[in-house]
Amino acid sequence: MADKTIKDVEFGEELPVFVPDTSLKRASVFASLVGWEGPRFSDHEKAREEGLPGAMVPGILNQGYLTAMIHQWAPNSTLISIDTIFRAPVMADEEHTMKAIVTDIDEEAQIVELDLTLANEKNETRVLGTARIKIAS
């Protein structure tokens, strides 16, 4: 994908929808890699025994996916901050979609702000947040 400049960005522009890998296998491998061993990210039945609705996708993996979505859209951008609010668990083995929309452009500072959402198949927002990125002129 071609590099993007701040002048290419439009207020209200929607980034291409991103479908993250929220499989139990991916959640489990990631959790293990970051030292979060335990059934809540690797075993639906045992997660339910802990009182959860099933195994979940780790939050930092979702943040990673959000970052990947941004960089697919603007490969030359630098992520300044990503701020997420987890409204509900992101359940493993359920399909989710991520969206981002441009909500502020500061051409002078070369900063773009994005709204971020992650929704499940019922279109229920599980995660929302914002990101600030820097894109050169």
Partner: protein, 212 residues
């Protein structure tokens, strides 16, 4: 006149939207609302003056509050200095009885919001605590609630003969205007909004499908 009666800005601890970006978004996306009420969590914002944004974008921007009680969260419209001396908005253990009493005493209107949601919604508590006295309006359409949660709100409001309002409960820019309230009268101030709420001349509307 269509107003989104439930929005949050960066003034709220979990709000991420700047007020000017809300205005830009409404105009850019041609969202058919004439204004919105900033109902910040557990506070009333006496300081901010949005009059220049109102003029620049031709939108009505009013301020209210969202407080927390044993029955869940409650919007207050028409907050005055006097009301904030009677209720400590920062507390999370206010009683709905006090919120309703002092709101009425100070000419404000208290409206339980997202009442169909678990934990933070009024109808999640009525089996245990009973039907609270003095409630006349609830938020039956909330942009942050699931369809089944709004359904609980609508059905209970109907059976208890409460009027319903709509609000997006937006915390990020792109969520404003998902639900709103349509008024029969022109509203240009909080005083008039409170008056119209008391008169009951309004209906909730969902704009979710339009925004998809």
């Amino acid at each position: 006149m269509i107003l989104d009666l439930h929005t949050h800005s960066v003034k709220s601890d979990d709000g991420r939207a700047k007020v000017e970006n809300y205005c830009q978004w409404i105009k850019a996306k041609e969202i058919p609302i004439d204004g919105f009420v900033l109902t910040e969590h557990r506070q009333y914002d006496f300081e901010s003056d949005y009059s220049s944004l109102e003029k620049k974008y031709n939108l009505l921007i009013l301020k209210g509050s969202e407080v927390e009680t044993e029955y869940g969260h409650v919007l207050i419209f028409g907050v005055t200095k006097m009301l904030t001396t009677k209720l400590d908005f920062s507390r999370i253990d206010l009683t709905l009885r006090d919120v309703i009493h002092w709101s009425k005493a100070c000419s404000a209107v208290a409206v339980p919001c997202h009442p169909g949601r678990p934990k933070v919604g009024m109808f999640a508590h009525t089996d245990r605590l009973g039907i609270p006295e003095g409630v006349e309006i609830v938020e039956t359409l909330n942009g942050g609630s699931r369809d089944e949660e709004d359904k609980v709100a609508i059905e209970n409001a109907r059976s208890l003969e409460y009027k319903g309002i709509g609000g997006s409960d937006s915390h990020i820019v792109s969520h404003i205007g998902r639900c709103a309230t349509i008024f029969t009268e022109e509203i240009r101030s909080m005083e008039v909004l409170v008056k119209e709420l008391k008169k009951g001349n309004f209906e909730p509307i969902s704009l979710r499908n339009r925004l998809k």
